[in-house]
């Protein structure tokens, strides 16, 4: 069996990790999971937590489905996948409510929406059902990280330009009621761009990321 002899990090397997970060990014190339990319990128912290939650769910469901791939009756495979994803999401939700209550309040409905995140179901259907658990694991890490990468970039710019903070810290100085009392760039008359906090700017930010990515990576340009 050729597959068993394959090294753990063979070139093919490394591609499973690196492809989703650029050439095959779930958000910027496949344009999946946009809904949550718009909704929870106002601040960096919830975006990070959401990324970790999605990463956990996508890895775990990929591995579980891959292990069961020869046992799952093909007629009900979508239902089985949904069941596995949904239970994992409920687990994440319950754990957040118990150990990170503030974060769970902030993410509120979006944790539940991981169930419908096309990236998760897409990977199960396209990859985990046809590959072994180790490859499925790598695929999960790669796609989860690709999703996280875009989410964090978008959240970084939205929080920085929208509220002048990063992870809740006032990195651009403190904005007081008058310019005279302000510090940092606010003392020069700088104003936060409130528009960055609204979802249209998330879409535009994702658009800019796609633009930059395509201008650097010629293989993505269609004829």
């Amino acid at each position: 069996m050729a597959e068993e002899k394959e090294a753990l990090f063979s070139k093919k397997n490394r591609a499973l990790l690196s492809d989703p970060l650029d050439d095959n990014n779930p958000i910027s190339v496949q344009v999946l999971g946009i809904c949550s990319a718009l909704a929870i990128t106002v601040q960096l912290k919830p975006a990070l937590v959401m990324s970790i939650a999605v990463l956990f769910v996508i890895i775990a469901s990929n591995v579980i489905v891959s292990l069961l791939r020869n046992l799952i009756p093909s007629r009900i495979r979508i239902i089985v996948q949904l069941l596995i994803v949904a239970s994992l999401v409920i687990l994440v939700d319950q754990i957040l409510k118990a150990y990170a209550y503030d974060v769970s309040k902030e993410l509120s409905v979006f944790v539940g929406l991981i169930i419908t995140n096309c990236i998760v179901m897409g990977r199960l259907e396209a990859f985990a059902l046809a590959n072994g658990p180790w490859k499925a694991f790598l695929d999960g890490v790669g796609n989860g990280a690709g999703y996280a990468l875009i989410l964090v970039i978008v959240a970084f710019f939205r929080e920085l330009l929208g509220s002048g903070k990063l992870m809740g810290f006032e990195v651009l100085g403190h904005k007081a009621k008058t310019i005279a009392e302000s510090t940092g760039v606010y003392a020069l008359g700088y104003e936060n761009n409130g528009f960055m906090l609204l979802s249209p700017m998330a879409l535009i930010t994702v658009g800019i990321i796609i633009w930059i990515q395509r201008s650097k990576n010629r293989s993505l340009i269609e004829d």
Partner: protein, 237 residues
Amino acid sequence: MDTNSNKYTFLFAIVMVTIIAGLLSYTATTLKPLQQKNIRAEKMQNILSAIGVDVSRESADAGFDKYIKQQLALKKDGTVDENSKAFELSLKKEIKKDSINQRLPLYIAEKEGKTFYVIPLYGAGLWDAIWGYIALDSDKNTIVGANFDHKGETPGLGAEITTDWFEEQFVGKTLLEDLEAGFAIDNFISVKAVKGGAKAEDLHGVDGISGGTITSDGISDMLQERLARYLPYFKNN
């Protein structure tokens, strides 16, 4: 093994569902005490923030014991029902009962030698429930603090009720037409969120939220309906 036979499909579904149901119920039961502790602590934080005390979630219990001197469950006539505990009352459930059976929670706080009255609120916004706490000065007439929260109001519009600018407007507003005339229902005006903005000298109005009129009206109705019920108690104490 034929994984496509009906028998196998049914069997697989049944086994799978049973395992998952067991796993999820186990997690839910084990984590419940921790989750409820968080919800309790948050309630305490909200009550304290109405009188301007900010505590962390961990120190909520200690802060609550320090500032809240009395927790009363009031009956309709303003007398105290010794049999029910104010903190354990769920306003969501109470509000559905008729006014004879309803118990009204009231928290009496003491901060820097002054007495404050904190009244929990519960009402309806545009999409779902809205709730909050309002703190009255020792004259039981002047508002010293308010905080609101909601389940599903529109972000940027109705959901603005949770922002500082909206909540801070309530400070200094009064509930009664004339404090001298006492706590009678015909002397009670409450505070309303006024569409298009309240006049600066208006003691019973705050600016409503542009684009969030129904949520603003929900706030007005909630204050009117809830606070009026405490008049008998305030009259006698």
